[in-house]
Symmetry: C2
Subunit: 461 residues, 2 copies
């Protein structure tokens, strides 16, 4: 046994803890894999892991490897400058949000500004300038605008989901909605189930909660049911977070049969489900929803208006069991004070109640259908193929040619002013390095395909 | 020993854990006090506490009683209807925010709508209706509007606090600012120091973080320095959260000498300080600031525009060490996605950069000075006296006549449509039951004094 090499392996794991590349509940790399990574014998890794376990930093779980305990970890990672960062779940967000205007962003998660309903929003702000004093300056009610909650309840009733306005809580974003629910339901170290692949920010959020993340493979009709059954049985997750309509990043649709089986299993294992409905209005026709089947018993519906109306006017919602909403209200007061912005809700309610919203969404859907076909057509000569042709929305989850690594391409492309969304940021199991997610509404510029081709050629050379 | 009585005491404590009346790090009621409350012998409480400790739910700490461990606690409290609730730190918030328009709110924490600068805000919304497309619909940069951050940096420079715009992070509220910092720096069970009394929502926030709260008595010139030294030595808090300018609820001002000594002790014990500067613009002239003395080394400055401009346009800020801001940006992405509302920042920046803001604040200060005197004058015949006549702001921390309990008065007054702010919601040590906090801007209606007089008479009867 080389004492120095053992020390090196221990230092490498400690560095992962310090940088929060590994957090409470995470599984350590397997002994075989980490031995290969470090160029040492497996017995050296065994020795290092045993010593770290002796220090209490990790612990072994029979038959399933070593896990981070959460003892003695430092505060949240102090990240370096964005461009130095690893291609992790924050990478796409930071590169996209802080991009200069000249940067092309086929990897980002929103529509271009000129696809959004500016006329209706401008009318909303003019109306606000004439609104009553209280709405312009007061905190508003703890659950947020009753007018907007009634509008939402009316829309949900049309789907067959009966929700009282008291069961709705307005928040500042879809992400904040999930964050509040996690705060309400989870404790550090709890196990949470997500799809593989899933929206990358679910992973970032769950890290902030020090949750242990487990995954289920996502198929073209929803989560793989056998794998779902196995993970419920073996991992006992407290929560499952998913998108049903137009799943991010795959664009897949949950099948009715899958939805029913999934809810039956959830009931048997007392699993709570957060159904993120943020892309619902992009569907050509409604697809099965867990919240509708379940009636908000163990499903929480969340959503926002960032993708359809405005991400600048921060407004989202939670629909949940009445007694849970009471607890969520307390949490929102404790952690943000008051409800969400009354002026934001006023503008959103104004746009939603007018006839222009339906026309806006009709236009968007048609425009996206064209853009989806066009993007697939332009990726074809590069050997990049959609895993699925989605029914709606703005994502295209694409498989790269054999041997290409999406993180390598993304790192190369960003130096040329193109932000891509590499597969592994969506995969908590690290199994999607051969995929890229394209936003078809942000993929019109020919330069994107030139940069992509150049990066693929270089990486193959 | 009566087994049944021991069981009753255990059940009573378990109920407090289930309802989160007690959370991780909280001290259990003293044996003597709880024996009196339950009408049992102290030895029965000793037996019950020992058994609960045996179950791991609580643990004893030598010489200082029993504490909640955080093992096996349920999810966040499922609260009952607001009116059934205990007079706890959420009580004033929920009663005030969800009050109907006819309710009088001398206990609330904001100015009446008609004291706010509606002209400037309406101009801001009209300008927004003519602004560029991107600001109306895009997420904006991760740190929020550069224009507003530059304005803030300019104002801070005028105080002698040099801050680069990169050291500023915009958020949706002052409370969210503190919440992000707590998420960044704290782990469940960490000890946090607050003033006694302090803003009640600090306690609610720290409960959500499962922090252990310790207190230092607040004097008319800041925290008591001897007590501060003792608590640093004995309790080793990780963080101290305070208001320096126009302390909430007392209206006291931090003295320069106190500020200097406090920072010296903080350095010796590696204590981080959050200085909540939300009332700064209400001061007649600037008072000493920890952030200015320290230069943002171990002090984090937070603030918002909810008290001076609008609570409906949710916008606050954090000024901190550059490397901390990087971590806070990640956390804000993970838990809320993107930065704070660009439209909110645009309106705030517009109002702050115009000349009208200074005039608005001049008017407010004069109006508040008159209201403060008038409120004190009207409380005098009831035997209710200010603990201190503050230099500015809208709070008056008042002592009740001997024998009056502010929670009893608050419960009686709310049934008559008057929301009061009883002392103990501000005191983590429960030592301020003889105080009420009045908002002098919300205290003009004579009915308030009638209801108060009636409640005091009834409670004495």
């Amino acid at each position: 046994m080389h004492a120095t090499r053992t020390g090196e392996v221990m230092a490498a794991i400690r560095a992962k803890l310090t940088s929060r590349a590994l957090v409470t509940g995470d599984r350590l790399p397997s002994i075989r894999r980490f031995a290969a990574t470090m160029g040492v014998a497996p017995s050296t890794v065994v020795e290092a892991y045993d010593r770290l376990a002796g220090e209490g930093l990790i612990r072994s779980r029979r038959g399933s490897g070593f896990y981070v305990t959460g003892t003695g970890l430092p505060p949240m990672a102090l990240a370096g400058a964005p461009s130095d960062r690893a291609v992790d779940p924050f990478w796409v967000s930071r590169q996209s949000l802080d991009a200069d205007p000249a940067t092309l962003k086929p990897g980002c998660g929103w529509l271009p500004a000129d696809w959004m309903p500016h006329g209706a929003l401008r009318r909303g702000f003019r109306a606000l300038a004439r609104a009553g004093d209280a709405i312009l300056t007061d905190y508003g009610q703890t659950r947020g605008s009753l007018a907007l909650r009634r509008l939402l309840a009316g829309r949900f009733a049309g789907e067959g989901l009966d929700v009282a306005p008291e069961q709705l809580l307005l928040v500042t974003s879809g992400t904040q909605a999930i964050d509040l629910i996690c705060r309400f339901l989870l404790r550090a170290g709890d196990t949470v189930l997500v799809d593989d692949p899933c929206y990358f920010n679910f992973q970032a959020l769950l890290r902030a909660h020090q949750a242990r993340v487990v995954t289920v493979p996502y198929t073209q009709s929803g989560p793989d049911l056998d794998a779902f059954a196995a993970v419920l049985r073996e991992e006992r997750p407290r929560l499952y977070i998913t998108n049903s309509a137009l799943h991010n990043p795959t664009g897949a649709t949950l099948a009715a049969r899958t939805a029913h089986h999934l809810l039956t299993m959830a009931a048997a294992h007392d699993l709570t489900i957060v159904e993120d409905d943020i892309f619902a209005d992009f569907e050509p026709e409604p697809s099965p929803r867990l919240a509708v089947l379940d009636g908000l018993h163990r499903v929480v519906r969340i959503g926002s208006f960032s993708k359809t109306l405005s991400a600048s006017i921060r407004c989202g919602y939670i629909a949940a069991r009445a007694e849970w909403v009471e607890g969520l209200v307390d949490l929102q007061i404790a952690t943000g004070f008051g409800g969400p912005s009354p002026v934001a809700a006023e503008v959103i309610a104004g746009v939603l109640s007018g006839g222009s919203y339906r026309r806006h969404m009709d236009d968007l859907r048609q425009r996206l259908t064209r853009a989806r076909r066009e993007t697939a057509r332009r990726l074809e000569p590069l050997g990049i193929r959609p895993w699925l042709m989605p029914r709606g929305g703005f994502y295209l989850w694409c498989q790269l040619p054999e041997g290409q690594d999406s993180a390598t391409l993304a790192r190369a492309a960003v130096t040329e002013g193109v932000v891509l969304a590499p597969g592994n940021v969506f995969s908590a199991s690290g199994s999607a390095s051969g995929f890229l997610r394209f936003n078809v509404a942000q993929a019109a510029d020919p330069r994107i395909y030139k940069v992509l081709e150049g990066a693929m050629t270089t990486s193959q050379a």
